[in-house]
Symmetry: C2
Subunit: 328 residues, 2 copies
Amino acid sequence: MKDVAARAGVGLKTVSRVVNGEPGVTPDTERRVQEAIETLGFRRNDSARVLRKGRTATVGLVLEDLADPFYGPLNRAVEEVARAHGALLINGSSAEDPERERELALALCARRVDGLIVIPAGDDHRYLEPEIRAGVATVFVDRPAGRIEADVVLSDNFGGARDGVAHLIAAGHRRIGFIGDHPRIHTATERLRGYRAAMAASGLPVDESWVTLGPTPPAPVAVAARRMLSGPEPVTALFAGNNRVTVTVVRVLAAEPRPVALVGFDDFELADLLRPGVSVVAQDAAALGRVATDRLFQRLAGADLPPARIELPTRLVPRGSGELPPAA
Amino acid sequence: MKDVAARAGVGLKTVSRVVNGEPGVTPDTERRVQEAIETLGFRRNDSARVLRKGRTATVGLVLEDLADPFYGPLNRAVEEVARAHGALLINGSSAEDPERERELALALCARRVDGLIVIPAGDDHRYLEPEIRAGVATVFVDRPAGRIEADVVLSDNFGGARDGVAHLIAAGHRRIGFIGDHPRIHTATERLRGYRAAMAASGLPVDESWVTLGPTPPAPVAVAARRMLSGPEPVTALFAGNNRVTVTVVRVLAAEPRPVALVGFDDFELADLLRPGVSVVAQDAAALGRVATDRLFQRLAGADLPPARIELPTRLVPRGSGELPPAA
DNA sequence: CTGAAAGCGCTTACAG
DNA sequence: CTGAAAGCGCTTACAG
């Protein structure tokens, strides 16, 4: 910038004005500065700008896995809202590891992101307290923060699971299995709570062998599903606790001799093209991201809001698998 | 940092040493500094650090759509390699708009990312020349750069499509349709070239009504597919030019009275669970991201490499739909 | 082992 | 309409 000023024969401030399109520069001066910028190949350094202005126009997003299709629309929605506010997005995966979540979130804070959106992997977020106090707007999505007061935007996991299980009960099922994520994960326990509530509401007992919470790679989920489907009193329907589980269960059911009813939490592409179509409790991932980021920018705009818990409704989508009657 | 130094009764440089874990500080001094950091809630400002050091330890990624499942694994692979080198990832979607790609790429450069990975939407990247000259390592992925010399990592689009179409021909088809993306997109024309090569190699004529290149939302693709499947001499097989097209074609075929063979470019989840399973030409999206980012960090490490074109092989995955014989 | 001075490239607050 | 001075929060290069 100094070089540009020298070459154009003007002061630093004038170059700054031209670069930022500020008023108060003669057309002639502006032209000279522009020329100098071109010939010198000048490119403004935003780091220096940030250092002076305080704001970075950057939002950080910590999610579980950039490759998980569930987070794609959420990621994109956050980007779109950020873009509408002129901000860029730095994001990274926690890989469901609390320590990695922490490192990533703190690295983003050190870069002075204006705001932080976190899909929590851990259950203790007190490490963010100094950052929040220092002015980093923070919103949690999909799961609540642990041990701190903060905004959270999530789906109605309890109600969605309850409705999905009630749907299976309405189709005549009495022995219904539940396969969900690790109990450390809030959504998993909420959905299990919904399952129990639906069963209780219909006066149905729950045999604890029908319930599994644990890691959701294909192998252990398949084992759990097959176990529930064997023995003298197998379940006649399954409720899958998330999209990863659902896909594995569909694979297991394809190899079963008799039809087994299935409702899954989370919608997924092509669910309607399978035979039978897979009935799901759909949540709106894009809306989660949009609402969270809107909230973030409200805070950045100076709104003095108390920490809120915003719950988005889910939607039951019947497609066939959830309407199958119990096998004789 | 000044406050910390004052409170600990040391110089600025000593605080800097402690914060960065540099040697040459007495344990006692270090303790005093640490205490001051804690009580004052000091957090290092990386913007200032960057301004001084020159490197930002940040990589920028411009892709087409953060929500597209094809790019999820690529995105994650880039992140993992960057993370292994201690760098964070800023990314954004071009939405297949050349102007938006340009804005995004230049915004990333203004933030002084160390390197840039671009999945091109446009076909003229001369706007990046000053940046590359100024030292921004740049690698293109999935599609080559336009009008500049630069590294590019892509799949063997020509060979993959040729093999896929040859596979359909081997099953007995002679009238094969091709539905691909907009001709502005390099992968689309390469795959079409593969289609034509396979047809020519078997001495089969191509009726131009069997070929459509254009936008790939569901509606126009469905129209094109239905058109090819109607009339007195309908195609008996379809080659779908990418995963978006394949999904739509599967939907159209589900409503067709007679079986139509299908091979799609790009693999997708659940392709094996559909009936028939969808045969595809699979490319390794994660490998694309990994190889590109490795190349980027080689450049950042100072390797003096000429611009290269790295082509990754594709793999034909037969699952049923591509092995269907022509309907009688 | 420790620290004072200069500078990274911008913007802010002023003065002319 | 224009510009000189000070400063954002660090690190570098040096001296003690």
